[in-house]
């Protein structure tokens, strides 16, 4: 038996043959609305248990659901953001099953007429590879309540004696995004989910707070000889509730299947749950026990029909999307993939960068300041770059002063720190306080001579071949010039004057 998987599990070997993973993801995203999908109860996380409930979301007989227009518009926008088709006719169906956190004994969902069909999610992997994953559909459904399994030591199902149910989440609008099996590794699965998250947050349709359970996903995983067109037997992994557990659970499942195949075993179609603590997947249900949901159109709800003008209006309302911005940053501004994501994923930072570049016309230098000194100050002071007193215009002045050599990098840092809290114009500060960089050789020579005279012992050491002393001497020149000397010129003149002077 032999199995090898390279980092990122994209290059997989089973008994000497190359294998690839085939992964499809279903992910559930709670929509950010004021109220639930079919009733006026509040959609908020963290309320006292069972305080946001009413006859509709508790499934009382005779209570009638009415769909939330904002939630339907949100899912259409989500689809449009990925270039999906919005069918003119949609309806809601009942998905029938019994579970204590679902009060009606059916979930209102969509079976054969989802609000969006198709579309493509594009993203970059950290190594710079560009990927496109096809979406099958995005449909709308209602979330279930939450159960706490009581009487067990770890709050989980195993060993519990009874359960406690909170219906505050029951009826919260939930989008289910289903991908085609286009994903090829655990790393790609996470990058795909991050791309979804980035887009939904930008659209304002969801907060995508995984820690609050507003994004949950399941994955279908199989492996096959690389290049084969037939799919291998798949397993479904459930219960992954962080990007980290998605990566580990899928990576773990790919290895498990590869090892089984290399031992000559067959993969069994089944549902496996990810056990966060044991770091392994565990069988939950085999194919034979598969559910029969008996979907049928919900007689309490009438169809939704979209006119072309409704879709055009929603398309007009789309904000600047992260993907085209990333593309512009990476392909046009030549920003690295990692740095482009840093800009896009920090709220307000990409706007700030783009506003500064529009003034400075120096993308690279601007980027270095934004991701370097400005991000450092943002962390240190717990202030967003965009809400500091340092405006894009001020940063553009600093970029300009530095690139012209009018100030050195140390002065630039000092001015950034000052303007960050006090505001003002960097160009005026340099002018008023005479902080301009000294690049005149004669002036720098003055400082260098002063240092040579004062540091005889170090100069002697340098002369005797101790090259490292030069750094100290340059530091002394900077200190003597109160930080204004051009450090490159200082080094040049130190070497020249020491060489030319007598020991």
């Amino acid at each position: 038996m032999s199995v090898t998987a390279a980092a990122g599990d994209s290059a997989l070997q089973v008994n000497g043959g190359a294998y690839e993973a085939v992964i499809g993801i279903e992910c559930h995203v709670e929509l950010k609305t004021e109220t639930k999908m079919f009733c006026g109860c509040r959609n908020v996380f963290g309320s006292e248990p069972n305080t946001n409930v009413c006859p509709v979301c508790l499934g009382y007989p005779g209570a009638l659901p009415v769909p939330n227009r904002l939630a339907i518009e949100a899912i259409v926008k989500a689809g449009l953001a990925f270039g999906a088709e919005i069918p003119p006719f949609s309806k809601f169906d009942r998905k029938n099953y019994f579970y204590p956190d679902m009060p009606k004994n059916y979930q209102i969902s969509q079976y054969d007429t989802p609000f969006t069909r198709g579309g493509v999610v594009s993203f970059w992997l950290p190594d710079g590879t560009q990927r496109q994953i096809r979406l099958t559909r995005i449909h709308l459904e209602e979330d279930t309540g939450k159960s706490i399994h009581a009487g067990s030591t770890d709050g989980r199902l195993g060993g519990s004696t009874h359960s406690l149910v909170d219906f505050n989440r029951a009826g919260v609008p939930l989008m289910e995004c289903v991908s085609e099996p286009d994903i090829r590794s655990a790393v790609e699965a996470v990058a795909y989910l991050e791309a979804l998250k980035r887009t939904f947050v930008a659209l304002g349709v969801s907060d995508v707070k995984m820690e609050e359970g507003s994004l949950r996903c399941d994955a279908n995983v199989s492996i096959r000889p690389t290049g084969a067109s037939e799919l291998g037997t798949k397993t479904e992994i459930k219960n992954m509730n962080s990007f980290r557990s998605v990566q580990r659970a899928i990576g773990n499942e790919i290895s498990r299947q590869a090892e089984a195949l290399s031992r000559g075993e067959r993969i069994v179609q089944e549902t496996r749950g990810w056990d966060e603590v044991a770091e392994t997947t565990i069988v939950q249900r085999s194919k034979e026990e598969a559910h029969d949901y008996r979907y049928f159109p919900d007689p309490d709800l009438v169809p939704i029909e979209f006119a072309a003008r409704d879709i055009a209006r929603l398309r007009d309302e789309l904000v600047t999307l992260p993907q085209p911005r990333l593309e512009r940053l990476i392909l046009h501004d030549r920003v690295s993939v990692v740095q482009a994501h840093q800009l896009i994923d920090t709220p307000g930072l990409a706007d700030y960068y783009e506003e500064t570049v529009a003034l400075s016309e120096a993308p690279q230098a601007t980027l270095n300041f934004v991701l370097g000194e400005l991000s450092r100050l943002a962390n240190e002071t717990a202030t967003a770059v965009a809400s500091s007193a340092l405006t894009p215009k001020a940063l553009a002045e600093i970029v300009d002063l530095t690139s012209r050599g009018a100030i050195n990098s140390k002065t630039a840092k000092d001015i950034i720190a000052r303007v960050w809290s006090e505001g003002g114009s960097p160009a005026e500060i340099v002018e008023r306080e005479g902080l301009g960089q000294v690049s005149d050789p004669a002036a720098v020579d003055g400082f260098v001579r002063e240092v040579i005279a004062a540091q005889a012992e170090s100069v002697e050491n340098f002369r005797n071949g101790k090259e490292t002393v030069l750094k100290f001497l340059i530091g002394q020149v900077m200190k003597t010039s109160r930080g204004k000397a051009d450090p490159k010129l200082a080094e040049e003149r130190l070497r020249a004057l020491i060489a030319g002077s007598d020991p």
Binding site: G40, V53, L70, I72, P100, A150, P299
Partner: protein
């Protein structure tokens, strides 16, 4: 479809109904009669009739995303078969949901 093709025991299991073998037989015959009635309906010419999902001639009934008062918690929990503190209490759950 004839009544013999309805798996009454399976349908009962899906509906969480515990039926005796006598009941399986009795309901099987009754469901069979229902299906025969549907077979009569299927003889109607419907080639020109578009399929519908709803008998109400209406579309796009929606509401604005505006909150309305929920029920007081005690009123809700008093109607529960069992409560524990602020929660509905239910018997031990045996498996993961659908």
């Amino acid at each position: 479809m004839s009544s013999g093709q309805i798996d009454v025991a399976y349908v009962a299991k899906l509906a969480r109904l515990a039926l005796s073998s006598d009941e399986v037989e009795r309901f099987g015959a009754q469901l069979g009669a229902l299906l025969e009635h549907v077979q009569t309906l299927q003889k109607l010419p419907t080639a020109d009739v578009a399929a519908t999902a709803q008998v109400i001639p209406s579309v796009n009934v929606m509401r604005d995303d505006v909150a309305r008062p929920s029920l007081p918690r005690d009123v809700v929990l008093e109607a529960a078969p069992q409560r524990q503190g602020s929660y509905f209490r239910v018997p031990r759950i045996l498996g993961e949901p659908g």
